[in-house]
Amino acid sequence: MENALFEYLLRLGDDSLILGHRLSEWCGHGPILEEDIALTNLSLDLIGQATAIFEYAGKVEGKGRSEDDLAFLRFDKDYRNLLLVERPNGDFGVTIMRQFLFDAYRKPLFERLVNSSDEMIAAIAAKSLKETKYHLKHSSEWVIRLGDGTEESHNRMQDALNDLWKYAAELFYEDEVDATLKASGVLPDMDSLKSEWEQTVTAVLEEATLKIPENNWKQEGGRKGLHTEHLGYILAELQYMQRAYPNMEW
């Protein structure tokens, strides 16, 4: 049981950490100042969530690992994030599409985790939900503006969607970890999670005049620690200081 909880917290925390890191790469590179600030604000929220989740994960594991140990001192196969969140930023359209597919899942997820029998997960979810609502509003509005924008912006958004769609199925990946936690009420009823996500995605993409790809090929692996090459590059940058100067602080 403790193991399943630890594993689940890594999944939750790694999604936040890796996407937060990806978004931080936009710092100083945003297409306009307001979006530079917006993307780094999202990043800050996500990294803040990761901090709270890892702090708790360290306690659950009981081996004395801190939130920093978990963020900076694991190997690639020990990360449990979705492949979707480690996808490269691409252009602004790709970043926004990735964010939208993720936010549309995160909001209903947190809405359910608020009812977790685990008090700490419920508290983190209640806190994060408020922030995620802003994230989803931001990414939805941009998907619509760019999708239903110029021919150039429309095509780029459609390309982004075509490219990212195969990673979306992993949002609903479930295995024995979920089964164990469902049995104990840590994970409340998740049945309608996917249909709620589909509803949001369909409504927004329709408004954005974008078409859901017909190709149903699915690419999974992150939840089991099997990542694309991109995670290695992320970790090289993320972990550099702690690997080069172990235990450094400032």
Binding site: E34, I37, N41, L42, L44, G48, A126, K127, E131, Y134
Partner: protein
């Protein structure tokens, strides 16, 4: 020296938010509890946003202020539940925000409502209701960026978080 929790709350009125320095940590609603056990004082605070970089500074400032008042044995506890909301901003705090040039939170519909009517945020300088949202995300996590169409003043809006 015998101190009361009321006195401690009073001292905390002298600790300011590092990013919005007109607000005290009490105005902001981040101080949730003050407890005394003999000469040990425990202050419970809650973060505004998960990634708010000011929390560590607020913790340090609280310890420092209470030391300055002669209370040596201080611990600051950070709790996540119940989650902070802008509803906890004091009326005094809202007034101070406006005077400082930051529009205080308006009563907003739920963020999850897509395509909702935009809310009206009056300009903190000229009170005009003809303003526009520039960006949902501003200079800090808790603010959005607006501009007044009448006096043209760009201003921060302390956004509603529920």
């Amino acid at each position: 020296m015998v101190i009361s929790t009321e006195e401690i709350w009073g001292y905390l009125e002298e600790v300011f938010d590092p990013e919005v320095p007109v607000l005290t940590v009490v105005d902001l609603g981040v101080v949730r509890k003050v407890e005394l056990d003999g000469d040990a004082c425990k202050v419970t605070i809650t973060p505004t946003y998960s990634g708010c970089p000011a929390m560590k500074r607020i913790e340090d400032d609280i310890v420092e202020k209470l030391k300055e008042k002669g209370i040596e044995n201080v611990t600051v506890d950070l709790v996540l539940a119940p989650a902070w909301t802008t509803d906890w901003l004091s009326e005094n705090g809202k007034r101070k925000l406006k005077e400082y040039g930051i529009a205080p939170p308006e009563n907003e519909p739920d963020k999850s409502v897509l395509f909702a009517e935009p809310i009206v945020v009056p300009c903190p300088k000229c009170d005009s209701k003809d303003t526009r949202l520039v960006s949902q995300f501003g200079s800090t996590a808790c603010k959005a960026h607006y501009q007044c169409n009448d006096c043209l003043e760009p201003f921060d809006y302390f956004k509603c978080l529920r």
